[in-house]
């Protein structure tokens, strides 16, 4: 078991890239580290995010050559690796967000990034970086430059969290703090949005199990399953059961045991360290 200790405030986001085997962490201390497994150790490399507020969330891009960080500074940092200087460079998307960026999600094409914010809106940006991304010949991505907003979804009147793309990238799902979950098909100039209200306490994060099924977690400590029927109408199906996700140690007090930890999130945010278990 390894203890990776570098941050000096709450570790607010963590992601593990499957292919390149790197871990990226971000923290309220406004820093980010990319951890590489060298021999028996995990070695951190500091990433200068150029933030003046806490970092809140992070995700590796599908090709694992970039990662996105949402922050309380109303900005999103897109970080890529510069081989010549052996460091990660951070490019900021400063415009558009009126409040903290709570969640980020990459489209399978490695260029579009969806963000949710406490201003209630979900936005999709282009993160095309010359030298890192290849220009596709498809019409959809050919005009986008870095930081350009593709679409803004104004469906929620309260804080938005937990945005995710479906596996194909055709559908977007995110949740609002008003006990609603939003599904948007055909994200583009004419999207089809569905607002699904449910009886329970708000959700905080979602995950796509398949193109037509989503699991949401939130303040009820009981994962909720949503699915789309043949006509594409989304609705609540059932709870997953009484199972609590046991791999999540105590999270920050204000979120009080909400079961929002997924799979690889192993952050013990109380003591600013996190733990990796070796293969058995």
């Amino acid at each position: 078991m390894h203890v990776l200790q570098k941050h000096d405030q709450i570790v607010s986001g963590i992601d593990w890239s499957a292919k390149s085997n790197q871990i990226v962490t971000v923290s309220h201390d406004r820093n980010s580290y990319v951890w590489n497994h060298e021999g028996a150790e995990w070695v951190p490399m500091l990433v200068i995010l150029r933030l003046n507020r806490a970092a809140l969330c992070v995700q590796w891009s599908p090709n694992e050559n970039k990662f996105a960080v949402g922050s309380g500074a109303k900005t999103v940092c897109i970080c890529y690796y510069e081989q010549e200087n052996n460091w990660w460079v951070s490019k900021l998307i400063r415009k558009k967000h009126d409040s903290s960026v709570t969640s980020v999600a990459w489209h399978p094409n490695n260029i579009f990034l969806a963000t949710t914010s406490t201003d209630g809106k979900c936005r999709v940006f282009s993160t095309f970086i010359k030298g890192v991304d290849k220009r596709e010949s498809k019409a959809g991505t050919s005009d986008s430059k870095f930081g350009e907003q593709i679409i803004q979804l104004d469906l929620s009147f309260s804080w938005a969290f937990g945005v995710k793309w479906s596996p194909s990238g055709n559908t977007l799902a995110y949740v609002g703090h008003n006990s609603m979950i939003y599904f948007v098909d055909d994200v583009g100039p004419s999207p089809l949005a569905q607002n699904v209200a449910f009886r329970n306490l708000p959700l905080r994060d979602v995950i796509f199990v398949s193109e037509k099924m989503v699991v949401g977690v939130g303040f009820d400590c009981n994962p909720m399953i949503f699915a789309a029927d043949e006509t594409g109408i989304w609705s609540f199906i059932r709870f997953l059961g009484e199972r609590k996700i046991s791999s999540s140690p105590s999270k920050h007090g204000s979120q009080g045991g909400t079961g929002t930890e997924f799979l690889s999130r192993l952050a013990d945010t109380g003591t600013f360290k996190f733990f990796i278990w070796d293969h058995f």
């Binding site: 929620s156 009147f157 609002g176 008003n178 006990s179 209200a197 449910f198 009886r199 708000p202």
Partner: protein, 135 residues
């Protein structure tokens, strides 16, 4: 939902108030016919949340209040009230509770209990979290 609509200007407030007065007459007649649930539905329909004008909101509140106080059988009311009305009804219940007036609060609490059973905590959350469309 109403996010994309603009907010109603002050001039249109007059039109809204006129519509509310018209609604009020309809509600009185429904109450005389002992149809309190219909009266409530009429009162809740076309509620003007997309306006910042306090007079419109107050005018509609008076109408909704009248219909609410006339409800005697709460369970029966819910069996014929469509779920689409739950969220807006919850907002008016909280407005009623904020008045502090004893009979109003009693009635609102009675309805609130049953509405929460039916609509769940999500309904309350939607009412509290929505600071844009207030009643």
């Amino acid at each position: 939902m109403a996010g994309v609509q603009g907010f109603v200007e002050a001039d249109n407030a007059e039109a809204i108030i006129a519509r509310i007065e018209h609604k009020s007459r309809k509600i009185e007649s429904l109450l005389k016919q002992h149809k309190p649930v219909e009266a409530l539905k009429t009162a809740l329909e076309g509620s003007p949340p997309a306006t910042r004008d306090e007079r419109c909101k107050s005018a509609n509140w008076i109408v909704v209040h009248r219909a609410l106080m006339a409800i005697k059988d709460v369970e029966g009311m819910f069996s014929s009230l469509d779920p689409e009305y739950y969220d807006i009804l919850m907002k008016y219940l909280y407005r009623g509770l904020s008045t502090g007036d004893r009979p109003t609060c009693d009635q609102c609490l009675r309805i609130h209990e049953k509405l929460t059973e039916r609509a769940g905590l999500g309904c309350i959350l939607r009412c509290l979290a929505d600071t844009v469309n207030t009643v």
